[in-house]
Amino acid sequence: MNADMGLGVRDGDTSKMTDKSGPFASWGMFSRGQDTRLTVAFGDSSAVRSLPVYSLISLVAMIVFWFVATYTWGFPDQFKEPGLSDKLRIAACNSNDVCKGSFSQLLGPLTFPSIRDTWNTFFLLIDEGFQDITLWAHTKASLWRVIRGMFFGTLFGVPIGFAMGLSSKARGFFDTIVESFRPVPPLALLPLFILIFGIGDTTAVRLLIFASIWIMIIASRSGVQEANLSKVRAAYSLGASKPQVLFRVLLPNALPQLFTGFRLALGVSWGTLVAAELVGTRDGLGSMIFAARPFFRLDVVVVGIIVIALLGVMMDIILRFLESKLIPWRGKG
């Protein structure tokens, strides 16, 4: 805020506004990038960044570990012993009808899939799919559920949160509800939801609404509560009506908190969804993983896990990008 401190610095000093990233800013990725040399940096967390080189090292390390582990050990080894593995598989099949008729598939050695197997399975899943549903169809089903869940969670959550921030009656009324339901892990309600709504797509979406709505309520409530009173007063003095204060001051002012809430809710929804799909739906990445289990198709399971992880990371990257575009003032007020 107060850049013009100290003697010799003029009001209207524009030097702090110049863009620090030079033409080679992107090269900073692999350079040290730190021009100021701190004498003691330990404990100064502002001096700590995530050095991309090291992130790359850990990624390579994970891949190498996977490669070596599957190449040498073929994890888990003891399943290769026919006696034990056969017993296990037959036991698994007896408890699960789905196995019947595909017994021959079970005779191969049960090993953790190698990188190449996984790679092949990935393309096989894209082309042919698992149980006639392609990987893309599973992914689409999952994403579409999350989108609907987040949409309705936000649609209902934000107005409720705003009401709680703006009216004592609404705060009193919703406080009890929010505080009772917020600590309940959404998955704990899955059995109840299935009993009430049955198995299927809408049940999963409803569960996601449940997962996201409390987070969105709390985020928007704190967004309103933390609004600087002088901003609101300034707006009234400038002739703004109550709706104008709401939509042109309180709402944009709450965007940082809303965004944080949205990111949090999306993470929770994603985790809840995959688990809900394990039992609740026929398509979706979670149900693909679950359906692959009785066939000992660890390769399908692994592809599912990787796709889930990558999508989660991608959603966060997209949201962070949107955040930097939509609320560039964040942390600078």
């Binding site: 805020m1 107060n2 850049a3 013009d4 401190m5 100290g6 003697l7 610095v9 003029r10 009001d11 209207g12 000093d13 702090k16 506004m17 600087n228 002088s230 901003k231 007063r233 300034a234 707006a235 009234y236 003095s237 400038l238 002739g239 703004a240 009506s241 104008q244 042109r248 001051v249 944009p252 002012n253 965007l255 609320i327 560039p328 003032w329 600078k332 007020g333």
Partner: protein, 267 residues
Amino acid sequence: MKDLSVKNVEMVYQVPKGEPVHALHDVSFDLTAGRLLTLLGPSGCGKTTLLNILAGFLAPTAGEVTLGGDIITGPGQERGMVFQQGALFEWLSVEKNIAFGPKMNRHSKTETKDKVEELLDVVGLAGFGDRQVYELSGGMQQRVALARCLANDPDVILMDEPLGALDALTREKMQGLILKLWKETGKSIILVTHSVEEALYLGDRLFVMAPRPGRIECDYELPFAENGLEVEPRELKAAPEFGEKREEILSIIWEMEEEIMGRGEAI
């Protein structure tokens, strides 16, 4: 332009646990249009409370405030407010901040655009219209706040320690700007400050307020603001008359502070 009249205003804050706070007691004054009144006094003497009542954010417990004969019952655009800091809209550019008032009143776009250009020029921010407010220095942000307030063409401008967060040099420049705006627009201004020098330099009228309960202790008519722009500010502040007044007011405030200390109610 309208005259402001404050009659027997009392303000008592009800505190949930504890004694009610008597923030203002029997505050009465008339301010004819076009004057610059500065409010000075130890912290807690009700300066902000008085300004909030004038702005219409608070209703006085008793008494009444009128502007041009109309009783003030709530905020209104004939009374603009400039806050110490943090009241700009970070999500809007400089020019959109300034255009906020006209936009709320649905003024025509072209008219508003011209007005914004003109105001940017007046406050010395020409060419900064499309900047983001969070990129600006504290002094420049206060210039935007002034311009935003002026865009609605208020009769009275209320300022609560508008320069309080600025460094000494920026502060002096902004004092010059406020004087210039006051003279050019002929608007009434009420400005709260902690600095005796600022109160003397800017005010053509000055209230020294006393705490517990908050009240107007002294009412000065001041000659300095009149020449504020012609005479070099530092020269003016070095003049013997200025120094005398400063000492006089400082001793009044010191006395109040000692009294508060003596009662052991403040540190």
